[in-house]
């Protein structure tokens, strides 16, 4: 087993490009996505005026709209706004009129609802205030109003079940890091597993079988290698972002390592199952990318799984090991959960791994 295991590293040394590329891609993707904070971080809204719009009103509305924290309303020519929307560079454009507005879209996107709501709120409040201000001394009223608003009569406080007020967190950066790292590790692990199929094709597998090695030793050598290569890739990516970019992965390193190990094991096993199911290694090549992308989408690596409402889909997501991997990683890093609370995702990943591994090896052995 040891020699089979070591051999894989020797082979990796000769052909490291695959593994290095996927590690590089992980880092590239996370830096990129986490760097700009993922979708919805800062939206630029192309804004233009109806020909009837007065200059004074334009300035007023723009100032008022730009009070938003995560939206920038940028003044552009109508043609530019229209171009941007129809080519998809902008999700929507805002047409200002004196006391009215229109939102122009090409595609109905859920994210544009946020902007629509915001603009509606600004206009309805502002129009209300204007209406009242018109009956009294506008300047005085505004000042007094602002003062009163600063002492709200009602507040909402939010806290989590565990009672810690700060734990209501949705950390975009960590979500991206976890999602992308787990996603790309699928590729590394499964493409590395193709070594087994390759050995069978070339004939070295038979050589190993007729040697005194037991079959389980040969499998174990390969599996251990694939496990480690995936494990190391995830670790390196985590370390990189912790050390270089200061991502906060929490303090429970032991639990973190355990969760990664369980996830890696589940993916290695899934890879074995896929190999058992396909006839040739070339089919693996076609299956792996689609499988990885599908798992990532369904399991919530690309977008948060919470947006999925359909029960069947939620059930499907719960069939994806990556779902539990992400769940457990977030539990450890963000919510500082200990092992007892992580028992459920961990044991599901392990169970998933054992079942897939059993089926996979069985199918492969039956074929030969």
């Amino acid at each position: 087993m040891k020699s089979v295991f070591l051999l894989q590293w020797q082979r990796l040394r000769r052909a490291p490009i695959l593994v290095l590329s996927f590690l590089g891609l992980t880092i590239l993707f996370v830096s990129f996505l986490a760097g700009f904070g993922g979708p919805n971080s800062q939206i630029t809204i192309y804004t233009y005026g109806d020909p009837s719009l007065e200059e004074e009103k334009k300035v007023e509305w723009l100032d008022r709209l730009n009070e938003a924290e995560n939206m920038t309303f940028r003044w552009v020519e109508e043609s530019e706004a229209r171009d941007a929307v129809s080519s998809g560079e902008a999700g929507l454009a805002l047409k200002l009129m004196n006391d009215d507005y229109r939102i122009l879209i090409a595609v109905q996107e859920p994210s544009s609802v946020t902007v629509e709501n915001y603009v509606y709120q600004v206009f309805s409040e502002e129009l209300r205030l204007q209406e009242i201000a018109s009956q009294v001394d506008a300047g005085e009223f505004r000042t007094e109003f602002e003062r009163s608003l600063n002492e709200p009569s009602m507040k909402v406080v939010t806290e989590s079940l565990s009672g810690e007020e700060s734990s209501f967190i949705y950390d975009d950066q960590l979500h991206v890091l976890f999602g992308m790292t787990l996603f790309f590790s699928i590729y590394t692990i499964m493409f590395s597993l193709m070594n087994v199929a390759e050995e069978k094709r070339v004939g070295t597998w038979d050589r190993l079988i007729v040697s005194p090695l037991h079959k389980w030793q040969i499998y174990l050598g390969h599996l251990l290698y694939c496990f480690l290569i995936g494990y190391v890739q995830i670790l390196v990516a985590f370390l990189f972002f912790k050390v270089i970019f200061g991502f906060d992965l929490g303090q429970r390193y032991g639990a973190l390592l355990l969760v990664i190990a369980c996830y890696t094991f589940a993916i290695v096993s899934l890879g074995m199952l896929v190999m058992g199911l396909v006839k040739r290694s070339q089919q693996m090549q076609a299956v792996i990318p689609i499988l990885a992308t599908a798992m990532a989408m369904l399991g919530g690596a690309y977008w948060p799984i919470e947006i999925v409402t359909n029960d069947i889909m939620v059930a499907l997501a719960k069939g994806m090991p990556i779902y539990y991997g992400l769940d457990a990683l977030r539990g450890v890093a963000i919510y500082n959960l200990g092992l007892p609370e992580l028992l459920q995702p961990i044991s599901i990943m392990l169970l998933f791994g054992v079942v897939c591994m059993g089926l996979g090896i069985n199918l492969m052995e039956r074929r030969s």
């Binding site: 052909a15 490009i17 590329s21 996927f22 590239l28 993707f29 996505l33 700009f36 979708p39 919805n40 129809s86 998809g88 560079e89 999700g91 507005y101 939102i103 122009l104 879209i105 090409a106 595609v107 109905q108 996107e109 609802v113 209300r128 209406e131 009242i132 009956q135 009294v136 009223f141 007094e144 003062r147 009163s148 608003l149 709200p152 009569s153 009602m154 507040k155 909402v156 939010t158 806290e159 989590s160 079940l161 209501f168 996603f183 493409f191 070339q282 089919q283 090549q285 689609i290 992308t293 599908a294 989408m297 369904l298 690309y302 947006i307 359909n310 069947i312 889909m313 977030r330 919510y335």
Partner: protein, 432 residues
């Protein structure tokens, strides 16, 4: 050339499993995901539902009585008392909250259960409810004091959620926030008016006379046609991503052929080696085109994603699909050249695993590029999938060839670059 093409296509046809994977997996995935995301993407909230628990420690009636007693002890003149008592009836905070919850748009999404605190906590733990909203003791009393007399610190609603945030809790929180903001906004107006001695304006407003709502705002399509639904966007963006995988799959065949020495035999057969590349390129294009068209058709038949009765619409879709398919052929050709030259399949793995994901991200397949920095959108429109996505979307909006022509030219140019570089890279006979 025809002969090579026939061979490549035959090889693909023989391997039914792989062909099925290539053609049908994307459809399957889109169907699955469309179920998953349809609710949210289509703006359809009927699926989106949550239960919340209200823990009411406040006694509204008692609060009102206490408040009025306070007024009496303060020695307010009777007519002011009368006026205030009338206003109190209008602005009882919990009643307003209840009204909001019973409003159709909210009640469709949120079902409220009144529980005591320990029950509510249990329910939250079991995920029977999304959140607990605690209306604390003397909530009415403190709110009224602050709202009407500007005395005290006001009141606090307490929301408790599970450790994990979710879209549901976000939605509920925003509903509660909306309520609180409205209360505060209105209160601020009233107080400002009272402080400035314009009680009359306030009184008029309370009469509801000036309150006639003006119509304003609205969402319009930028083109004459209906806006593209997010479901359509999603279908197209997934299609342009999945089609890229074909390139690597076809090129991977070259690796096998090289390994099995079929390749050398082909080269020795006194045919120009470029013909071999051509065969790969065209077969990738054919498969890609079929994949795209099947995907659009199946999606239309199953979900009515696109209108079936517009030949012009489908003509344009076919043209864009052909051009994109040729570009995928270009990828297949370049990958084949690299695979044969270095006799290494890893490049195909990296392409299908990494490069495609990268292109998909930049090209707007995961989420619209409009949500990313502008530079990404610009780069994205130069990727074949991104340019094709834009072309598809523009076509669906305007059915105007001239507006999509620049994008089609980009894709063609990319295809040309890919094909030319593959020819340059492809090993010449002498060097084999």
């Amino acid at each position: 050339m025809g002969n090579f093409l026939r061979k490549d296509l035959l090889v693909l046809l023989r391997d039914r499993t792989e062909l099925m994977i290539l053609l049908l997996m994307p459809i399957l995935l889109i169907v699955i995901l469309s179920f998953a995301l349809r609710g949210i993407l289509g703006g359809d909230t009927s699926d989106f539902h949550m239960d919340v628990a209200f823990v009411i420690e406040d006694d509204e009636e008692q609060g009102v009585i206490d408040f009025i007693e306070d007024l009496e002890t303060m020695g307010m003149p009777p007519e002011v008392m009368m006026e205030l008592e009338r206003v109190v009836e209008e602005v009882k905070p919990y009643t307003m909250l209840e009204d909001l919850m019973n409003n159709e748009s909210v009640s469709n999404m949120v079902t409220v259960e009144e529980l005591d605190f320990s029950e509510a906590e249990e329910a939250l733990k079991n995920e029977d409810v999304t959140a607990i909203l605690l209306i604390p003791e003397d909530f009415t009393y403190h709110s009224l004091k602050k709202m009407l007399l500007n005395e005290g610190d006001g009141s606090e609603l307490k929301m408790t959620v599970k450790d994990y945030s979710s879209i549901r809790t976000d939605v509920f929180l925003s509903i509660v926030n909306r309520y609180v903001n409205t209360v505060n906004f209105e209160t601020a107006i009233s107080q400002a008016l009272i402080d400035l001695g314009h009680g009359d304006v306030l009184a008029d407003r309370a009469e509801g006379e000036v309150m006639e709502a003006r119509e304003f705002g609205g969402v319009e399509s930028i083109s004459a046609r209906e806006p593209i639904t997010s479901f359509q966007y999603y279908t197209v963006s997934m299609a342009v991503m999945f089609v890229l995988f074909v390139g690597a799959t076809i090129a991977s065949k070259a690796y096998v052929e090289k390994k099995q020495h079929v390749f050398n035999r082909i080269i020795l057969s006194n045919r120009h080696p470029i013909v071999y590349l051509g065969g790969k390129m065209i077969s990738a294009s054919v498969i890609s085109f079929l994949q795209l068209i099947i995907l659009f058709l199946v999606s239309t038949l199953a979900f009515r994603t696109f209108p079936l009765d517009e030949p012009a619409f489908w003509g344009g879709i076919a043209i864009i699909a052909i051009i994109l398919a040729i570009c995928v052929g270009g990828f297949a050709s370049l990958l084949t050249a690299l695979t044969v030259k270095y006799e290494n399949d890893a490049l195909n793995h990296i392409f299908s695993g990494g490069i495609v994901t990268l292109l998909a991200l930049v090209g707007g397949s995961f989420f619209p590029t409009s949500e990313m920095p502008e530079i990404i959108g610009t780069i994205g429109n130069w990727t074949p999938n991104g340019a094709a996505l834009t072309a598809f979307l523009k076509w669906m909006q305007e059915l105007d060839m001239t507006t999509i022509l620049p994008y089609l030219i980009r894709i063609v140019a990319l295809a040309a670059i890919l094909i030319i570089s593959s020819i340059l890279i492809f090993p010449k006979r002498r060097s084999l």
